[in-house]
Symmetry: D2
Subunit: 367 residues, 4 copies
């Protein structure tokens, strides 16, 4: 039961249930001297806040972050950064009914079996609210990476069958539509689809892409701590994610070596690659090309149609889920994907500092 921490050096521990007093995170291992304010965190949290579009839950929570430790005179001190968000508008009564049965597609049944009982209110620990801690940590990691010139950008690639048109991709569009798509026209079509879903009391899945530029070469380790392996874990640890790809991903399974190999060439005295099928890693280490990560997100399991399931007494029953549920998870997952990528890369970047004697000697000689 080590469930709630991730990272070797930049270590992130989230805590909290959907309808407990608060949700939060402790970030240990952030270097001292990084400028940091609650506003830096809030900007990230606002990107995942509910109630921002007709397609997300109207729960109008402020989700205002408080930094409780680890920051002094607006800089990180090198000690653990504890952050929390109070759970304000929790209406537990909405959920009391679900205490007794197992919602399809949810963790109710597995929680009960593993732990003997569960905090059933609002999904408890498996609620999307757990990602508040992840995003708060991701905001720190992003700020750190930014100071090294490393930029991350996640966005919605598709909702159901509605994909962005790669030839029409415009990253500046991402925040101009409620679905975080870098293609205004695709966003309009996807919105229409979501309205259909709501009418049909149904939901739909989608795909999130994340691109990272500015990474130095050599982040990640050769065997089990490969950068792509840790990214895969980080992504698959997000509740609704069912698949992860690096670079061409499953397309590589259909490719010839002669097309999948990215040829090296010199560009401005730097080793560069003519293509980037690999998606920015070779042998588990960053290769200097943009990192390309893609994740598949399942449809919201809470739908308003009648569903078959069983109750705790072991009877087959018919249920109808109430409450507030988005017809799609994807747009709000975008900042979570970006956050998980940021913390994974930051962790790898810190670990990388110990890889070479020449650099270590130089580091300690110039202190």
């Amino acid at each position: 039961m080590f469930g709630s921490s991730i990272g070797n050096i930049f270590k992130v521990t989230t805590w909290g249930e959907s309808h407990g007093k608060a949700v939060g995170v402790v970030v240990d291992g952030c270097p001292a001297g990084l400028p940091l304010t609650e506003e830096d965190i809030q900007i990230f949290l606002n990107r995942r806040k509910p109630g921002q579009s007709p397609y997300s839950t109207p729960r109008s929570e402020a989700d205002q972050v408080e930094i409780l430790s680890g920051v002094f005179e607006k800089k990180t001190t090198g000690t653990p950064i504890s952050m929390l968000v109070w759970n304000k508008t929790a209406r537990s009564s909405d959920y009391s009914e679900i205490a007794g049965y197992y919602r399809p597609g949810h963790a109710d049944y597995t929680f009960d079996e593993k732990f003997g009982f569960r905090d059933y209110r609002g999904g408890g620990r498996s609620s999307g609210r757990e990602t508040i801690g992840r995003v708060a940590a991701g905001a720190i990691a992003s700020k750190f990476l930014d100071s090294l010139g490393i930029k991350l950008q996640a966005y919605t690639h598709s909702i159901g069958p509605i994909m962005i048109d790669e030839t029409n991709k415009d990253l500046s569009e991402i925040y101009n539509n409620p679905l975080n798509m870098p293609d205004a026209s695709a966003a309009l079509k996807a919105e229409a689809l979501l309205r259909e879903m709501m009418t049909a009391k149904d939901s739909i899945g989608g795909i999130v892409d994340c691109e990272v530029t500015g990474l130095p070469v050599g982040i990640g380790d050769p065997v089990f701590e490969k950068l792509d392996a840790n990214l895969a874990k980080a992504m698959m640890s997000i509740g609704a994610v069912k698949g992860v790809e690096i670079g061409d991903g499953f397309q590589a399974a259909f490719a010839y070596g002669s097309e999948n190999n990215d040829a090296f060439y010199m560009e401005n005295d730097c080793v560069s690659k003519k293509t980037n099928h690999a998606g920015g890693t070779l042998g588990g280490m960053s290769d200097g090309s943009p990192l390309r990560i893609r994740v598949a997100i399942k449809p919201t399991p809470s739908i308003f149609q009648s569903q078959e399931t069983v109750n705790k007494q072991g009877e087959n029953i018919q249920i109808q889920i109430k409450g507030r549920h988005d017809p799609v998870i994807v747009p709000r997952a975008v900042v979570v994907v970006e956050s998980m990528a940021a913390m994974t890369i930051m962790d790898g970047l810190l670990a990388n500092m110990t890889s070479r004697m020449d650099r270590i000697l130089k580091f300690y000689e110039t202190l």
Copy 2:
């Protein structure tokens, strides 16, 4: 640089380079009293051995495992199990040429940048021979899981565009063809494709599936140590893997909630699911259904066509790779995928023992 260990309780540490003295593994955390012999390990190693088909390298190594510690009177003792395989027929001269340039699709460049230099012989640490340690550890994990009634089966799902026919799938066929496909007819087509590849001095990718049955409910933890998250990391840590799916994977991104949700129902007094789109996990914990894992494997990067690249002096050059290289990685990766799944599941299963007070009290009261 934590690169070479994986697992929290069942901890596996591989070591060794392709053309060093030996490759091996230390397995720490295996419970005492598991019957184990070198033969148990050898059976697994033989499944990944080269030279078993026209499509794998003719390097005729015995790859004979030696258990050096942790086993006494044919049972594990609870202490670290150290195993090694000597590197016998290493012909380093084959590789001396590659010291000076970076092969496309390989880790040569990233290794040099990260570590300042590299053991270039045969790919060094990034060689497929590193997986010998993984498979030896996987053999132990499989034996452990088998004693609890948990069975794993990995196989080749596709090579390039040649997929098995699900309606024709026959697991007993897996070892009857050199490609480890559970469909004799697909295997014949794939063999033809591989002969084409060899003629064209090219290579091809493919997909490996792994199914696990008999898992108890509740293996894996709710947040970062999700069973699927750890499986994703374990899979993506295999050199050539570019994508991982659990259950329907990327298909879930196109599905409606009403079809993707697996309805629960009672069967023989057990909670069961009518479908298994989820692939055996809910909320990161095993749900009692078969676990379904799918990984995408890129084409062998070592191809015999002329390729563009750069050398260490920063010049654009043209290279032609020599030596022994398979036109496809997939068939030999099958047992590696199965091994990584086995150790990940075993680790989760051991961790799960501490999840509930009632079970802990019972455990300690009956000692």
Copy 3:
């Protein structure tokens, strides 16, 4: 920088500075179903609360704990337990002067060098208030151990030269005097000594003992995760601890093998030991005898005498520390020692569940 977490399975992460908003702890890995209330925690916290005697700081903080997550219907849920205590009466102005120089015996200088600057208010992260998180976690571990019949008792063994009389030891006396000594007469003498210290503007060190009974055999692992090794780390991680002994400790360095060996014999069909020089461990594993731990605690470094030191400008200066400081750390350290022992033992006890195949098979067969 992994500084703030301890434990492999029962993982404790403390956070917070003396004069930040709050101090707290996240406990991950506590089994589900342990009855737990804020009152359980508060009882432990009250044992370390300041202002309880003339020899401890009059800072009259309530130190009231809040459980923010991981407990539902008065039982732990198996998810992280987040607890905090608000810092209410922090008067930072008391401390502004110390920003510019390095107090002897404190971490001011090392903090500045390691992190570039520090939160100097009240000792920041190195304040004794950090132990609030430890004690809150220790309260949980103690409750867990108690349910298995394992009892811990720490107490003051000596303050300066005033030791308890072993022939007069009465554990029921521990809470009857402000020094937590199990010997009323020694306590009176020690109180007199402390009054002398206060008059002399000086401080004094002392020794804390901790005894643990009811431990099953086999807790701890044979090599690096020895129970005594983890106890030594846990103890030495307490700010003022300078020495740790298990059993006879340094006395064993002067003993003959023939006297130091504890002879085994049968008692009521159980393997028992005639003596307990070893202090309850053999080969790093608990042997069924009482565990005996002893720690040396240095005198409070904050004394009111004039002291020599340097300031941040690199000048030799003379300082006089102000504020509220105890003449002795020992009595308030007692519950911290007990807490660290409790969490270390609980961690070992959970890890021990995976040591034997026969027990694992039985565990999983009876689910």
Copy 4:
């Protein structure tokens, strides 16, 4: 059961039983580019080799190390360094008798209880031969530290009541006597005592000191990963160690604050300390003064006198241990203590590189 690994970044995993095929170690996390040969390791191993004096076992093993991986062209490559020593002269028959009973002071009983059975030959995993792996790893760490100007020196401080005379201490004497004492005259007295012990079929304990100079300020972390805490764990993980002190250790429990505080002053523009009661750490971080570590080592538990114990059938019996056993552990423990200190410090030094933004930015900007 994580027993056999230590270290967060410089990770050391030992394996092997006294009478198995071999003993060894895998060192993961050693930076690339450190010059390293088998000779470097052998020099350290020779310091712990048996049969070097009348007071150590005559088992005349070569204990010749083989490096199997991680070194190429006489430099470390950044990949795991696997090293082993074959067990050549194992005469298991000497030990067959002890299979059935529990030797006092040994781990026989706890092993049997924890794991259900044990490899009883020569102490199995609890044999002193396990330290071969530690010393091999320590040789690497020492070489690394040496390249940064950090020097370690451990030595025998006392054997039973015979202590070195601090005023007579001469570190150049350490290798001139078989007891590794830096005081020739004390060594002679101790040798006389050991001859007495052998005649009396008894054994005796002692104390090992370790001093470290040249450490930069700031190694170690403020809370649980304190340098002294990790040293305490490392030391107490050595089989026969029963106590650990940093600096004045237990003496500090009897000291006044006014004498125990080390006054800072400026010396050659550097912050220095007038005394070093603290032993080189403040707040868990190195303070630039020499590190002083002291460990208590119990007498050899294998003595040739008749002893009382029990057998596996639960009968009280009388035993007489046969075989080869030293009358004192201390001299051969010296290099083990030094090795454990070296690896702990190296680990802390690598971790320290990530503590400050200004240094990280500089590190990455100059790559």
